[in-house]
Symmetry: C2
């Protein structure tokens, strides 16, 4: 039985650790933070888990927040412009968002209860080789502390080299859930997107608002506002942005109750999307495998980071359990198993950050008039490989429309706005 070391106790490292423990593989998880301490810290992100991830959690015995009770069943869309598009798409099976400050400590506890070793210690890049020497395989499953730099970027120009959005994500009281309960994807063309997520936190059922602001697009100020300095000004700015650009969310807001759930329940950041090499050689010649944020970082615009990390963890776990050695052949097998989902998620996310090509605008217009198409697009949030298959080229999007009975969708508007030609 091999002995596995994992650096990083996010969803990638924890899912991998729990999966390996199901096969009685000895696992040590290295993290720089006591998992329980996350609860008192800053919001790390606003993360939706889609059905395939929830199914993996059930199989791992860590489905602590059943989607039937904590989840949601659909995406509501609003595409702004002179003739806004408003439409819904349903999942086949519900998704669920739980504050990772609850989620990650619960999984770390389950990991330890099942015989996993957890070591709280800072790990720097220079420590990796010594750590690798204690195990048969070292998996780097965190982008923190510069550890990802071990793995060279590989996505040869497909990803942007700078952030295409500035992010402002927070948890709020005072937003009534949509009906049926779902995520709202609200697009303000040229300005950015708002992703509203019904999320379960220590305050119960609250609302995550993730503003994705195009640099220079007019909503940048949200990423610059200092909530701690002037909570009132912050609240007013957010309300003003919602009222002006995201009406299907603002109409559900009770201004008297609307506020951040706490001063730490806000995170402002920006992502440089990067796909890195699957593995690297340490100075000793030992192999280190990249997983999760060490392997691929995506902008959260379509919520693919955690789901892709969990999928990739399963690919790594299955290959560890089956294979006979941890060498180039092993790394190639892992790469083959996860590549389609990882690259699908990365390329789809990148596409959504760019000025939308005509076939994407046509698709949105067609979805607004053809429910089965919107349902298929929504369900593909759990299958980024399939979503990319439908979005990679205009020809593919046409075939996707045809497959879902929407072949007669007109082309995008000639003025370049979203939706169908009148």
């Amino acid at each position: 039985m091999p002995d596995i070391g994992i650096v990083g106790a996010g969803i990638a490292g924890l899912h991998l650790g729990l999966m390996l423990r199901q096969h009685d593989v000895p696992v040590t998880l290295y993290t720089d933070r006591v998992p329980g301490s996350l609860a008192a810290g800053r919001l790390p992100a606003t993360v939706a888990h889609h059905a395939p991830t929830l199914e993996r959690e059930r199989r791992l015995g860590v489905g602590f927040w059943p989607a039937e009770e904590y989840g949601y069943t659909c995406h509501h869309h609003h595409v702004g412009g002179p003739r806004p598009l408003v439409f819904r798409g349903d999942f086949t099976r519900p998704s669920c968002a739980v504050d990772h400050r609850l989620y990650l400590p619960a999984l770390a506890e389950a990991f330890q209860e099942r015989g996993g070793r957890l070591r709280v210690t800072p790990v720097a890049a220079g420590d990796l080789d010594a750590l690798a020497g204690r195990h048969d395989l070292l998996v780097v499953a965190t982008g923190r502390g510069g550890l990802a730099d071990l793995f060279p970027p590989r996505d040869g120009g497909a990803s942007p080299r700078r952030p295409l959005r500035r992010l402002c994500a927070g948890l709020y009281h005072g937003v009534a859930p949509s009906e049926p309960k779902g995520v709202t994807l609200s697009i303000a063309p040229g300005r950015g997107e708002l992703i509203e997520i019904p999320l379960f936190s220590r305050d119960g059922h609250v609302t995550a608002l993730l503003f994705e602001s195009v640099p220079g697009g007019g909503a940048d100020h949200l990423a610059d506002l200092d909530h701690e300095e002037d909570p009132g000004a912050f609240r007013r700015a957010v309300l003003a942005e919602l009222t002006a650009h995201h009406p299907t969310v603002s109409e559900r807001i009770d201004p008297g109750r609307f506020r951040l759930t706490g001063p730490l329940d806000l995170v402002r950041t920006a992502i440089v999307p990067t796909v890195r090499a699957d593995h690297a050689r340490l100075p000793s010649g030992r192999l280190a495998l990249a997983l999760g944020d060490a392997h691929a970082v995506v902008d959260p615009i379509v919520g693919q980071g955690a789901n892709t990390a969990s999928h990739a963890a399963e690919a790594v776990a299955a290959t560890i359990v089956e294979d006979l050695a941890f060498d180039e052949l092993f790394a190639r097998r892992v790469a083959r198993r996860r590549e389609e989902v990882v690259l699908g998620a990365a390329r789809w996310s990148d596409l959504m950050l760019r000025p939308p090509p005509e076939h994407l605008r046509s698709l949105l217009g067609a979805m607004s008039r053809h429910r089965p198409l919107a349902d298929a697009f929504t369900d593909n949030f759990g299958h980024p490989d399939r979503q990319w298959q439908a979005l990679a080229t205009p020809e593919r999007t046409r075939a996707f429309l045809a497959r879902h009975g929407a072949a007669d969708a007109p082309a995008a508007r000639p003025d370049g706005t979203w939706g169908p030609t009148p």
Copy 2:
């Protein structure tokens, strides 16, 4: 529904065609020979179908020769030298060998009965672009007529560039089946191998003898002998070779009955192993996909050609049915699905043609003393990806031994012959 054209009516093309017909995909198969005419022609090869291929045939409704009646259950091994190794390995599920002059016409008939179109017409490389224009995708599934040259070799030096064996394969009367009924793999180190296969032909249950002669190794003359010129001399030479080097086969021969089943039941050839690009662009820009011999040709030393072609056909069929377009993304998806089996078969076959490295000699020695190991090696004839995982490096072979409870196997003999150190 896409319309698919397939050039080549061997096992690759026929399996793909039958799989697509199960999904009602329109298919046209182009072949230069009326399938029924094969029956009167020369033996094309001696082909064993392993359990995964037989399972695919059952699912396709073309399991016309059930392995329970026509098949065999094990491999008998003889490794010659000063201390010969003699041992057996059992399959989990039986394999089966049927003369492809019976098999291919039967499948072609089933293909047509199920709505597949079969066009008998010579196809040259210059015709491919026009053919591709008649279909949504053209699959080249034959190495005949130089069509494989469309796909550049890709296996960067891993395969030899010249034949490492000269082959002489024939069907014979007068060899009693082994007990239990099985293939015999008889290795005459430095000289070559004999693969004896219980095979069902138009003459009923006969015996295929496939001599794999190392050029200059002493058994070359078998590939040069002209049976038609002097059947008696041919028969004497084969008998002499068997008696001198393949005793576990020769002991089952009735010299009074031993003879070729017919003048056309003999084929002499030599293979240059080649793995080619998965796809190519035709002059018009249309994509052509390589399958079967157009994609990968292996020496038959471990009987992987037909099984790999059938596996790859399933990868192509599944991707055609699922995907939305036939472009680079499609080709990459096909490549990912079949790569591990195709490359595993190619690299394992190549390894068996070379002077055996120490870890392969150790493995054979350990198999001779440890039945579960021999069983696992034998069962892997149906899983060349797994076999290559066990053979790719000395470390992997050691882990394979350990996994099957044979970790204490001694190293190979210092004199370089096969088997364990005394």
